[in-house]
Symmetry: C2
Subunit: 671 residues, 2 copies
């Protein structure tokens, strides 16, 4: 660990000559941090040296293709010895980074010379010291000839000159620039190389739309029976989903569904004729995890669906639910992948004394090699069918180690494959799943509804865990209909959509949200007549024509996301103050160098999270985060209504839950 | 990283079959955590597995002499998946520890059997499952024969029995105990081995007393000149220091003092005849860092002083101030250990444009090998003279790397040598010094005076950084006389002493504190007529006779510390609530297994930190931390006054700053 220029002293030391500690990005447990193409990543390190001499700190980045770039870090002015910079990573693959620190002899001299010469102290010595430094720099072979000439001329002036010359050169901006761009480095120190995985954009940015293909195009026959939707009928819905601006269509499992112990409507233990069963009871004589439910069509139909989605600019995400119905082919071919009880039967899924008789959980420990290989084969089969995104059902009920292996193995062959963890469980488990490789994670977002909860939640996911965990802010799922949505009326649906779409770069909607489907099974937190157990017949067009659809708002939100790069970043969430405990305020800012347009992009969201009232309050903004001095005014435009106001540090707002509960404001004419 | 029993799958995985994450104790940056003999160390790890099966977690400790012990961890009930236990480490040296997790098949079965049999579900299967587990356990060769016999008998009963038998055995405490003591282990998983350095008690526990030997026994002659104290006269003070109950006497530097640019009284640039100079301006023709100031005596006198201290139960700590006066022998023999300016002169210490003309700082970069070796030689010389504790002056002005090397090198030869870092600087630097090896650290304690500040400070140093940083809570130093002491009157001195002596296991006092010396040099934060630049004449006995001394309180405090093992721990600080924002409440609790007496030791400190008022308020205690149910009452005895009260969860207190500002309460008759 010893660095160049160090003492030849015994022992291997952990610290470098100039200490470099607590490098970020980093992930607890030593897993590789992750990023996505275009993400602006904050790099930081704690660096200091003994005494008063000035140090410089730089980041040496090596791209996956081997390009090396250097980035100077700035010291934060808060006494933490933390140095930081932000870099947008524009290339997919594994980057290497390390931090380097050095004694900045020029800056130390310039600082001392300015103070001492002004005070009349050590005037000749400071001139001579400066000359020595400039001469040393001029001797560096990699400096351009013109620069070396200038340095030597200045050195001569310092040697022959008086205090005035020294003062002038110690404060000369051009000379400072020469040394900023190419510092004179002594006591060079460096951290080890760290890795950072940069994944494709869709790993970190996207709006998702979930639906059950069997409901799309489902028709009730005259006899009351149902002809379910197919990939061919569901395909017709894709242009509408694309027109709403979504990027991903996520399908619940599309495999054959078991009949043994099939669940009926509302999760009952008995079925009525025609009940389609839960798509999570995977496997039947027709096939298992690599098969298509015959009711939905053929593998050809599925591929046609994927192609149709592609044509609309949509990517298909499949559900990966690693469990089996009692009718799954694995039960016969690989009984060792399940748990056999002393009576010879296979154990159902259970949470004692409750049992789930339509599901056999897998046992990963009897034949790990065999089951690992089969799961990999299943994933690779769907990858071969054009699917590169998997929403993984309950990953926390399978070994963490399995996921680490599976994701690494799949991504080694194809780094574009994305896994979303559907783990609603304890924080340590959810974070561990993200750390071992899941590109995205469901989160507690649905249950964070008050201002205080949202501030804390969004700050945490945007900063504390952002090096490895990317929340996909689903507003609802087929299993989650929160009390906020059940009892918050249509305002609640508007508010949650606006926050989900703007607070983070990934969010999702389960079909039916547009229709304000807010009736729960009594006492539960899910929709009544859960689509898992039956067909749904929805008339999207009629609802919209009658003004009973949120589709127009979703269209607007996705368009705003598309137009504003600040909304396609995770780490730039910043909460601001309002005087009302139901008015949530946050900004998403992207500095000019990162927007691609040459100007900064700043969005301010002000949301009344109380869906039952009108709130008037004052919003207080820390505009300095966006380079606007406190007290300056600027124009903002509400991207939902087009209204334009002059805003500043303190601003009056009125947010009517029943009319316009959220402002999404663009800061205009920001220099 | 793969553990036994795992799949033969490709790649090396970071996670084990049962994940074990965030093991503590640990130090940021990967340095080894530290402890001291007798310290009760909390060990914790995040562990969980997929699904509902129960896991067990244990700590495998290997002592420096190779003894292995196993300690079961308990899950904290707060949804964090954190498992913890506490172990008192009783042997000096480097311990190894690792965490192990396993599937606790017996506990999983017992839990399920109890619920399912009661619900009438799977009754025969649960009996057969239990029989299988007990049979498997009985086959383990390391179980005692009697235990194996009992397990087989129970297994037979389960196989042949009914639900009642199964229910009885699944809830049988004896059977549970067998498996708790020797669990049936499957899916065994383990972390890597971690190191933990256990140092001698004095590294973590002690009360320190600082004094200037030249002042002890100093006499003013008739002509006004001074005959300074010597080791022989200072020696006479040792019995009094020992009688006050201190463990360590710390001496400011005892080396020859330079005359060039010697500082006069109150840090003036000119001296009067007889001014002794700052002991930090080390080095004169008589010698440098390995020499004794001739005014203090000879090396023989110094050794006699060390022996006299030993006889009183006191250990001598020396100051290690690595800098030189212009008259230091190094200046001639090793000019390369200093910085030479272009004009040929050696650079003084400075903070531009200020200069410190009596001090040359060392330059560690011109000849690192040479200067490292010389510093090591100096330390080893004093170790050979019987000194094993060094108070290191301004370590943050020397390379961090140097300290990492020096402390490791010294401790490799003699692990009993202790270094105290006197670094009053930014948090990252202070923490890094502790992390690289300093056994003790000065802290911000002197500047934490309000209740809120003290609560936050003491909680942080007792928990967040306790794996590597041990604060020595000095109440004052020869350089620090805070405004709180300057303007808080005698109450301030009492309050600070009580808190310092009870809140942490190491604290210190600089001589003169007993005499309430509270006059500062105007505008500064240090005593007027700083002892660094002159002799002090103090009449300890007269002050005490007149009731003008804090010595009686210090005696009591040190006696209380000696009698109460709970006060000799760092990590057991716990803040409690009071309704008054000047009344600080905390407890120090040591559970019965760790006290050596068989009963728990619990101290409650209630301090009015406003030295100018009387405060009446209610104190609210979380007694459950000490195993006392909320609402129960218990007796407390004030160890300062002998008063006895009946206390409980809510307690009235009245603390008069001018009479009795602090209660130090012992919880009596705690079972």
């Amino acid at each position: 660990m010893r660095q160049g220029g160090e003492a030849d002293t015994p022992g291997a030391l952990r610290t470098t000559r100039i200490p470099l500690l607590a490098a970020t990005p980093c992930v607890p447990g030593g897993f590789a941090p992750k990023s996505f193409v275009g993400e602006v990543v904050p790099f930081s390190v704690v660096a200091f040296r003994e005494g008063h001499d000035i140090i410089g700190v730089q980041l040496r980045l090596t791209s996956p293709t081997g390009d090396v770039s250097l980035h100077r870090l700035s010291a934060r002015a808060d006494g933490t010895d933390t140095w930081s910079t932000s870099v947008a990573l524009d290339e997919k693959g594994t980057w290497q980074f390390r931090f380097e620190a050095f004694s900045d002899d020029f800056a130390t001299w310039a600082h001392a010379a300015e103070l001492k010469v002004a005070a009349g102290v050590d005037v000749p010595v400071m001139g001579a010291l400066g000359a020595e430094i400039l001469t040393r720099a001029a001797a560096e072979k990699d400096r351009p000839a013109a620069e070396r000439k200038r340095l030597l001329a200045d050195a001569a002036a310092l040697n022959n000159g008086d205090g005035e010359t020294t003062l002038a050169l110690s404060t000369d901006p051009e000379l400072a620039k020469i040394f900023h761009n190419r510092p004179l480095i002594t006591l060079h120190s460096a951290t080890a190389e760290h890795s950072l995985n940069v994944e494709r954009v869709a790993a970190g940015v996207g709006s998702w739309y979930e639906f059950f293909p069997r409901s799309e195009g489902a028709k009730r026959r005259k006899d009351g029976s149902v002809k379910g939707g197919t990939f061919r009928t569901a395909m017709k819905r894709l242009p509408e989903v694309a027109a709403m601006g979504f990027d991903v269509v996520y399908l619940v499992p599309v495999h054959p569904i078991g009949t043994t112990n099939r669940k009926g409507r509302n999760n009952t233990l008995t079925t009525e004729p025609g009940d389609p069963g839960s798509p999570y009871a995977i496997g039947a004589p027709e096939g298992g995890h690599d098969a298509i439910h015959p009711d939905l069509g053929t593998p050809q139909d599925f591929r046609a669906f994927v192609r149709a989605a592609e044509k609309e600019g949509l990517e298909v995400a499949l559900d990966l639910a690693l469990q089996a119905s009692p009718d799954h082919p694995w039960v016969d071919t690989h009984p060792e992948w399940f748990t056999t009880l002393p009576d010879g039967t296979i154990a159902y899924a259970e949470n004692p004394p409750k049992k789930y008789q339509d599901i056999y959980p897998l046992n990963f420990d009897n034949d790990p090699a065999g089951i690992y290989a089969e799961m990999l084969r299943v994933v690779q089969y769907w990858v071969s069918q054009g699917v590169k995104i998997f929403r993984v059902d309950n990953p926390h009920t399978k070994p963490l180690q399995f996921w680490e292996w599976l994701i690494a193995t799949v991504n080694a062959a194809d780094p574009d494959v994305i896994f979303l963890a559907e783990a609603f469980t304890r924080p340590a488990v959810m974070r561990a799943l993200a750390a071992v490789g899941f590109q995205q994670s469901y989160s507690y977002f649905t249950w964070r509804n008050s201002k205080a909860e949202l501030e804390e939640f969004l700050t945490t996911v945007s900063h504390d865990t952002a090096d490895y965990m990317r929340p996909n802010l689903f507003v609802n799922t087929h299993d989650i209909l929160t009390e906020y949505l059940q009892f918050g009326g249509r305002a609640a649906y508007r508010i949650r959509a606006c926050i989900a779409a703007t607070a983070g770069p990934i969010y999702g909607v389960y079909a039916g949200y547009e229709l304000f489907e807010n009736v729960a099974r009594p006492g539960s937190e899910e929709n009544i007549d859960n689509e898992k157990y039956e067909y749904k017949f929805r008339n999207w067009r009629e609802a919209e024509e009658q003004g009973d659809s949120l589709a127009p708002l979703l269209r607007e939100l996705n368009a705003i996301r598309a137009a504003h790069p600040a909304l396609r970043q995770l780490r730039n969430f910043s909460a601001h103050w309002s005087d009302d405990d139901a008015v949530l305020v946050y900004s998403k800012h992207l500095a000019a160098p990162f927007t691609g347009t040459g100007t900064a992009d700043t969005i301010i969201v002000v949301a009344n999270v109380d869906p039952h009232s009108v709130r008037e309050t004052t919003v207080h903004l820390d505009t300095t985060q966006w380079g606007i001095p406190l007290g300056d005014t600027f124009e903002v435009e509400d991207l939902l209504t087009g209204a334009v106001w002059t805003w500043g540090e303190h601003n009056y707002v009125r947010l009517d839950a029943f009319a316009e509960p959220v402002h999404i404001l663009k800061v205009k004419e920001q220099s």
